[in-house]
Amino acid sequence: MAVAFDEMNIPGGDLRPAYQELARWLKETPPEALEYRRQEAELLFRRIGITFAVYGDSESTERLIPFDVIPRIMSGKEWGVLEKGLKQRVKALNMFLRDVYHGRDILRAGIVPEDLIFQNPVFRPEMNGQQVPHDVYVHIAGIDIVRVDSNDFIVLEDNARTPSGVSYMLENREIMMRLFPDLFARHRVAPVERYPDELLSALRSVAPLSASGEPTVALLTPGVYNSAYYEHSFLADKLGIELVEGRDLIVKNNEVFMRTTEGLKRVDVIYRRVDDDFLDPLTFRPDSALGVPGLMSAYAAGNITLANAVGTGIADDKAIYSYMPDIVKFYLGEEPILKNVQTWRCREPKDLGYVLDHLSELVVKEVHGSGGYGMLIGPAATKATIEAFREKLKREPEGFIAQPTLALSTCPTCTASGLAPRHVDLRPFVLTGSKSTTIVPGGLTRVALKEGSLVVNSSQGGGTKDTWILDE
């Protein structure tokens, strides 16, 4: 594995320009003061109730995601490149989805294999021929980005279903501004606080034609026991919209209503944080108590907009991921600005052969897995784990892809033994409405707190940082 790209220090002892002021500040600030602020931050998070639930963990059902008080900083110039690349990528994702559920030019052109679409459980035949307002499928995208050198941004994963984490981006900033006003005064940090406004106007802009002039938007949550419930309530609050559960909604004459103290009230746009499978027990899983019976027929009738659309999983599927550079070129006729991680498709015999021979060097992921579960990190795995995985892989090669172990970039992070570099990634949030695509400057930086660890997922011991884009 190559040496990780250090976002603060240039090999040889110099500092990258974006970090110079932070470094000066760190020198002036005694470690105890930093530790004190760290504890204060933790207290604030707990009091605000910014917690998440860990599934399969009965001991403490509500946990805090560790917050690291050292910000991750990027220059405005770097951000400019990233922003352009993200817009390009999300545009291609939307065009791909429109195509897959309509004309299927890309399949006829032989760029993406048919069986990868039609035999994919996240492909939704219900969406065939279904019109969605302004052809926007992915209204909210969370694109996971990593850096391995100073030049390139690499997409690790596209999240086009119900990406979460934006509440941490917003709350981390709030808390940082409260704890370190002096540090902010010494930087020009681009603000992130307009995200809720932009989200609301994006959602309003895609209301169905049958909606009234002031479309009613609601956020659909699986409920208080969902791991991201805090975020759902936080966003509903910031957007000033109702936070509804399935049982609050009812479908009548193919229109969706919420039960209010004044009777039924029509809903036009649902920002849903419930997975496809659970949306409508009449169409998808009949045992789902989280959904709304009849929602899909109201959707088919064009009386409700779901954000994100149903069936977007086909665009962020890990098997499709490896085709993204071609997908960008196919629809936009442009070279992709953001790179992909080199990916071996285990469904292809040649790739599988390579993967089986190099298991101890590769990261092997389940095509349909998420949250860092069910993956093999070759260099960190024992022989026995690798052998067990090899059998799994041979049994069902089409269920896996493999990638080289990336040396994720590092940022200075508070640890028990003082500041030390830790690996980070970044999830910016891309909003697409009827007219424009917007990205607030920043995103959620996740950091692997354990020394040497590359797993940044909060469910596996990752933490978060505030992400600063300097306004130059």
């Binding site: 707990r46 309530s233 509903a236 109702e242 609050d248 039960r259 209010t260």
Partner: protein, 314 residues
Amino acid sequence: MLSRTAENLYWLARYVERAEYLARTIDATLRVTALPAAYIGKTNEWDSALLTAGVAASFYQTYEEANEHNVVDYLSFSVDNPSSIRNCIEAARLNSRSVRTALTSEMWDTINSAWIELQAVWSKGTSTREDLAKFLRFVQETSLRFDGSAYRTMLRNDAYWFSRLGLHLERADNTARILDVKYHVLLPEEEHVGGPLDFYQWSSILRSVSALTAYHWVYRETLKPWLVADLLILNSTLPRSLASCYDNLVRNLDQIGVAYGRQGPAQRHARGIRNRLEHSNMNDIFQHGVHEFIQEFITDNSRLGEIITKQYLI
């Protein structure tokens, strides 16, 4: 607003009010039982505490006899008692989480901090009287803070009114129950009332509804049962009296009616109860029988809860 949100706000307020009432009941009972037996008579004060909390039946399924130790535990910390203080705070927190968007940050902070403290400090109950006193103060202060934050920070819209409905309905129920228990169980009507023995009983009732000082201000008299009853039933200047609760319930329901542009059975029913209270005097109530009067009130009051639920919350 969403019916579910209104329902959660309504129950949230009820749980907080109930927790405070339980804390006050325990507090008052501790004071009475600290007196020499000659001052309080032969009654089991802990038994009557269970009755006023409305959990005597479930308590005796587990315990043979009521004493300080097991009643304090049952009312405060028991996981099995659905309306123990602990469960009230747990339920209030769960309700708060589901309606966070309808709460102000001050209200959320109050409930969330109380819940954190409950787990961090009080998860094992209390072992000394001093600890218990601290715990009871914590519960009462939580309720005061919650009520105060709601009053000072909430928009005056349906969210506020539904939460007030829960508060006043619960409060009316609690006041009615404590009066009933003391009158009916401890002092059968034929028994002479007003002797020195009763002084401590009555002051403990007043204490449990935080009205001891108020009594002296209003009547400038020694404690007399009919005046205590007058204060707690008919005196609309006392916030915990039935009359005051119903003034508030009628007002809040009217505000909802105006905002929504229509009235319904809840408004009519609440007005009916208020009118009856307005046109009653203590002589009539005593003639009719205090117990009967209060029993009717309790039934009417919980009927109002059902009507509100049907009209707005489902």
